[in-house]
C-alpha cells in the first residue's frame, strides 16, 4: 500500500490496534486512521476485572504497547463511527465529516449487556470499559456490605474473586446449574463452582434475577438495595455487577450491505467485502477446524485476528495468496489463586478425562474428546502441561495420542 493509500481501522482496542500495528510494520506506507468512540488511550481489558479492582492499578498501566510505539497512526479517540457506505467507500462519524478509505478494518467489538431496566440505577455496574471498571472500583473501595454479581461467566467470576480479595461479602448468581456449563461442561463447571465456594462466595446456582429492589437516590434517580431472585429470595446489597455477556457492536453497520449475523460474517480469510476485513470480537468466520461459523471473544484471538486481517489486506495489495484464519481458541482466567486455561472449543456432550493431577486438589489438566479427536484442553494451575497439550488440538490429534502424550508429561 503506497503513500496514497488510506486504511481506516474502526476500533482501537486489541484487535484494531494490532491490525494497525501489523499494517505499518509490514510495509503500509500510506495513512492508517484508527477511530474509537472511547476517549481513553487504547488500553488492555483483562486487568479491568482483576488488578484494576483488586490491586489499584491505574489507567496508565493498561495502555496497549501498540499505542506507544512509533507507528505514525492517525489515532482519533472519542470519535464514534455511525455508518458505512461501501459504494462511496466512506465511514460516517458522529459530529464530523465522512472519512474516505481504500481499505477498511472493522474491529468495533462488543458492549456489555444490561439486565433490562437496570442501566442508570445507581450501584449497578457492568465491566467492559475502563470507565466501567474505575466506577466499580470506587464503589468497592467504599466497602459495601455485600456485592451481588449476576452471571458466573469469566467476567462475573473474576469480579467475584476481586471483590473477595478486598474482603467483601459476595453473592454470585448463575442461571445455569453450574458456572460455565456451556463452555466447560457439567463436570468441570462443578469444579469452578467449588472454587468459588471454597473462597467464601455465596453461590446461587440455577436461578435467575427477577428484579432489582431500589430506593430513590439523592439525584432523583434510583439506587439498588437488593436483588430479588426468581426463586422468591432477596439478597440485600449495595453493589450489583452484571456479567451476562455482550452484544456485538454491529448496529452502525446496518444497511451497509455487509452480512450481519451475530457479528460481521467473513470468509475464511476474514474478508467481509472487497477491501474490508473484520477482526476481534466482532468477526464471525467459517472455521475448518470446527466445521462451523465461529465468533470468539478471547484476548489472544483478538491479537491473532488483528494481525491476520492486516496481513489479508496486505496480501491483496501485493497479489499474494491469503492464508486461512483458523486458530485454536485459547484463553486464561485468573480467579483467586487459580489460573484456568482453556485451549480449543469443547461442547457440552464431549467426553472429559482428567489426565494430570486431580480436581480435588484444584490442580489438574482435563482433555475433551469428540469423535475420537482431542478438541479441548482445560488446565487449572498447570500451565506447562496446557501449553504442550494445546499443540495436539492444533494438530487434530486423536484422543488416544493425546492421552499418551499427557501421560508422558
Amino acid at each position: 500500500m503506497d503513500q496514497e493509500h488510506t486504511t481506516i481501522v474502526v476500533g482501537a482496542s486489541l484487535a484494531g490496534m494490532h491490525a494497525a500495528r501489523t499494517l505499518r510494520t509490514e510495509g503500509h506506507a500510506g495513512r492508517i486512521v484508527v477511530l474509537d468512540a472511547d476517549p481513553h488511550t487504547p488500553y488492555d481489558k483483562p486487568p479491568l476485572s482483576k488488578q484494576v479492582l483488586s490491586q489499584g492499578w491505574e489507567p496508565e498501566k493498561l495502555t496497549l504497547p501498540a499505542a506507544t510505539e512509533d507507528l505514525a497512526l492517525d489515532l482519533r479517540l472519542g470519535v464514534r463511527a455511525t455508518g458505512l457506505d461501501l459504494d462511496r467507500r466512506v465511514v460516517s462519524v458522529q459530529d464530523g465529516d465522512d472519512l474516505g478509505f481504500d481499505t477498511l478494518v472493522l474491529a468495533t467489538g462488543a458492549s456489555a449487556r444490561w439486565i433490562p431496566g437496570t442501566q442508570g440505577v445507581a450501584g449497578v455496574h457492568v465491566v467492559r470499559t475502563l470507565d466501567d471498571a474505575m466506577a466499580l472500583r470506587d464503589e468497592l473501595e467504599a466497602g459495601p456490605a455485600r456485592v451481588v454479581v449476576v452471571g458466573a461467566g469469566f467476567i462475573g467470576a473474576e469480579v467475584a474473586a476481586s471483590a473477595r480479595s478486598l474482603d467483601l461479602e459476595v453473592t454470585l448468581v448463575e442461571a445455569l446449574p453450574v458456572p460455565l456449563e456451556r463452555v466447560l461442561g457439567r463436570e468441570m463447571g462443578e469444579v469452578c463452582a467449588r472454587v468459588h465456594a471454597e473462597h467464601g462466595v455465596d453461590l446461587r446456582l440455577g436461578v435467575g434475577v427477577d428484579h432489582l429492589e431500589t430506593v430513590d437516590a439523592d439525584d432523583g434517580g434510583r439506587r439498588v438495595v437488593g436483588v430479588a431472585l426468581a426463586d422468591g429470595t432477596t439478597v440485600d446489597c449495595e453493589v450489583v455487577v452484571i456479567g451476562i455477556g455482550v452484544s456485538v457492536n454491529t448496529g452502525w453497520l446496518e444497511g451497509s450491505g455487509l452480512t450481519l449475523d451475530d457479528g460481521v460474517v467473513c470468509d475464511e480469510t476474514l474478508v467481509a467485502a472487497p477491501g474490508v476485513v473484520a477482526a476481534g470480537d466482532i468477526a464471525r468466520y467459517p472455521s475448518g477446524r470446527f466445521g462451523q461459523l465461529l465468533r470468539v471473544e478471547h484476548w489472544e484471538h483478538a491479537i491473532q485476528g488483528g494481525e491476520a486481517a492486516a496481513k489479508r489486506l496486505l496480501a491483496d495489495a501485493r497479489g499474494e495468496a491469503p492464508g486461512r484464519f483458523d486458530p485454536v481458541p485459547w484463553f486464561w482466567s485468573d480467579q483467586y489463586d487459580r489460573k484456568i486455561q482453556l485451549a480449543g472449543r469443547p461442547a457440552p456432550d464431549d467426553e472429559v478425562r482428567v489426565v494430570v493431577g486431580s480436581t480435588e486438589e484444584l490442580r489438574f489438566v482435563a482433555l475433551y474428546g469428540r469423535d475420537d479427536r482431542v478438541v479441548g484442553v482445560l488446565g487449572m494451575n498447570r500451565p506447562r502441561h496446557v501449553v504442550q497439550l494445546r499443540r495436539l488440538v492444533e494438530e487434530g490429534a486423536s484422543f488416544g495420542v493425546a492421552l499418551e502424550r499427557a501421560a508422558e508429561l
Binding site: 483483562p46 506447562r384 501449553v387
Partner: protein, 63 residues
C-alpha cells in the same frame, strides 16, 4: 538480542513456551526460566511473537 522478562508481571501463562520452547520453559515449580537470554537472530520472529502474545506483556527485547 537479549530476551528480558519482567518477573513482577510474569504469571507463567506459558504462552511463550508454546511459541519458543527452546527459549522459554515453565517448569514444575510453575516458574518461567529463560533458557537462552541471547538467542540467535534466527529466533527473532518467534521471540517477537512471544512478546506480542504474552498475556501480561512481561517480555521485551533489548538490542
Amino acid at each position: 538480542m537479549r530476551v528480558v522478562v519482567d518477573y513482577d508481571l510474569c504469571e507463567s501463562n506459558a504462552v511463550c513456551m508454546g511459541i519458543a520452547p527452546e527459549i522459554f520453559e515453565v517448569r514444575d515449580d510453575d516458574f518461567l526460566y529463560v533458557l537462552d537470554e541471547t538467542p540467535p537472530e534466527s529466533e527473532r520472529a518467534k521471540v517477537e511473537e512471544a512478546v506480542q502474545r504474552c498475556p501480561k506483556q512481561a517480555i521485551s527485547i533489548e538490542d
